[in-house]
Symmetry: C2
Amino acid sequence: MQRRPQGLLRKPDAILPRRIARSAATVDDGALPLAEIWNWIAEQNRAQRHDAARIPFAMLRNWSFDPDSGNLGHDSGRFFTVEGLEVFTDYGPVPHWSQPIIHQPEIGILGFLAKDIGGVLHFLVQAKSEPGNHNGVQLSPTVQATKSNYTRVHKGRDVPCLEYFRNAPPENILADVLQSEQGSWFYRKRNRNMIVEITDDIAPSDHFCWLTLGQLHELLKVDNLVNMDARTVLSCMPAGLADGGPGPDGGLPAAIARSAQSTAGSLHTSTAVMSWITEHQTRHFVQTTPIQLKTVKEWHITDDVIAHDRGLFFGIIAVEVTTNSREVGGWTQPLVRPNSIGTIALLVRRIDGVLHALVNARMEPGYLDVVELAPTVQCSPENYTDADRPPYLDTVLNIRPEQVLYDVELSEEGGRFYRARNRYQIIEVGSEIPDCSADGGLAGYRWLTLYQLTDLLRHSHYINVQARSLIACLRGLQ
Amino acid sequence: MQRRPQGLLRKPDAILPRRIARSAATVDDGALPLAEIWNWIAEQNRAQRHDAARIPFAMLRNWSFDPDSGNLGHDSGRFFTVEGLEVFTDYGPVPHWSQPIIHQPEIGILGFLAKDIGGVLHFLVQAKSEPGNHNGVQLSPTVQATKSNYTRVHKGRDVPCLEYFRNAPPENILADVLQSEQGSWFYRKRNRNMIVEITDDIAPSDHFCWLTLGQLHELLKVDNLVNMDARTVLSCMPAGLADGGPGPDGGLPAAIARSAQSTAGSLHTSTAVMSWITEHQTRHFVQTTPIQLKTVKEWHITDDVIAHDRGLFFGIIAVEVTTNSREVGGWTQPLVRPNSIGTIALLVRRIDGVLHALVNARMEPGYLDVVELAPTVQCSPENYTDADRPPYLDTVLNIRPEQVLYDVELSEEGGRFYRARNRYQIIEVGSEIPDCSADGGLAGYRWLTLYQLTDLLRHSHYINVQARSLIACLRGLQ
């Protein structure tokens, strides 16, 4: 047998689902051992300086409030603007409001390069500081580029590896789909989520590291380490299919594997799931109109924050960023600062040995198409009184320790959000939580399998960014 | 063997794809023979009176131009409005324009009831006059209801059978998906396309008739008979799968059957197709802003028409409708009147024995998400000079008779469009039209199989209404 240049450890499998399953099963035998990965992250944290100091809006450079509209934007007209949005809807208890929201109509690229190393798919991860990170570097995809980035508006250095995504041959593309981001903070923002396999030998800088999917799954179990962009791209990974099937029955890993690998055992047919989504797109009236920031009601602006009059939701602040690790040495910019750490939880249940996840058809004003599927619970509990608590929140707040499959604090995108952290949980429940199509269940909720969710993730506008994070994490529990 | 109540002619097949294939194969042995269907249509044409006479805008009742915006709307605020749209884009030769456009944000239901009659699925077709029809009744789905219809804004009679769609049990739903309509005339309009199977014995009025899919395919070959709403719902039909597979190789029917029945033999993988669509959603900049009708440039308004200054595209007119067949006896309303009969053509090609159709990622300003897949050619040839003719138009205009698989004039929706007719063609070509991913091919075009198109039709925003019509017709050529 001929040896491959990089040292062939196992026979490569040509079938993508098996290659993905093999990468997911490889933790200790990756190109770099886990212990060295920890060292690399620590090194990157020492090497990359990235400070974001709050400043008054008046100290923003090249950013200003438009005298007519009050909108906050960059002098170039690029990057993003903070504008207003007026919402009328019959979804939820509040029929009408206005709010500040980020407009970023350009579609960026979030992409992982993949490469066969020693017979196992590895993914090129970047250790990256972002101004909003509260803890230094986080692990990001290979490329995280706004159109302003890659068309050089900010006069920075080239984005490494970008050309592999912009000119990928079709046969090298493992995933390529537009996905939405936070619909409460962004107006119809989408990014292009890509995974592209290469065979070139490339020599990326020490900000980069090749990791297996199994190693990424381990790192997803660490607080605030794998960033939002990495999580959303990972969620778009095609389904893995292990040699020999899901393994012995009875255990959680087998229930997850069964859930991931076929339509068999799904509580609802795919046609019924599509019809349920269509019903919810149709059922709710949502009218959103971009308005001038200065006409937003119940919000006010001070020297250094745009805030809700009762201190709810989030604020818009300004920061001065100094860094030694990015395309430019320093800049100022606005960021969204949420007021609290949110609770984002997915209830899962074994139904006849197949894991199902309870997703919610949720309206957020920034969605392009009325609703997307969200985790079971997605809220900041302190924004609710006892009378109007979201469904299943009490279930999440009153679980027993043995029900917790996953409980990690994860950060949202540090390029737009200031220290935005949420507690992500996956909680196993039993038949005390009923089928939602049955009497007593809630129309806006349905139990779906991982296979069904993975199939929907091949398309835009179905699964929201919080659910995508939890799907990436759930796959890592096999 | 027990006899079923309605007289069992064949053993029913429980597997939906086989039931659909059986219905498609049944032309002569339906509940009603074709000859009687012709008689029924002739009768309905005699019985249903429906005249639409052009009137000046001043004679519209309950419709008026808003004094501030100039928008044309109904006093109730429902139905639809004619407003303006301003477009900036890098797609196509014109980077900036404004135009009148119909706003109809409510989502209506277009639905066929299906029922097993004698072991064969039948679909309940309605003979329906619409004010814009140039030729009396056309065949429509069982239900064709705007939200204004079914919430009774126009004080008409109940819509028959509507409740079967509004409260369908999931297991009876064969298709349920939002689909867009003409993006040049409608701003982000979608209708809910549904097919629902029932077992109830119902006794619809003589406006209705149960037809097999094979009979519908025959009727699709008749000029201006099967209406647009029926065609779009038919396009969302799940794939059929005939007993015994596609039949002997070599013939066109076998090539269509192979194209419809699996991913085998597709020129492009489904991942490559999704990536190509994502690339085109990302590639083009399209900014559309609703504006006041009075601020639309290069258009003018007279007593009885809103028209383009150079007589291009379409006009908005008003009609007085008198009828004996609808929920109310008569009304007035605006309609869009296109200026010419368009050419809508799908090139198809057998590639290794599998039929592929050449679709175009096309931007229209009313689409929710930048591009949808259109037929190979979709235009009004007289709007173009020799210098800027659309790709493949000359191919379509210079075909030999033996290349024509389908060539029928079909009408667009008569409730919104006045005598809007287009020539729909399916044309078989050979390898003189190259693979579009190869050198010399056009980036905006791809050869897809029927299976791939049917899979995309389970989702919104992929296939435009013109392509959906041709897909329904193409399936009928097996």
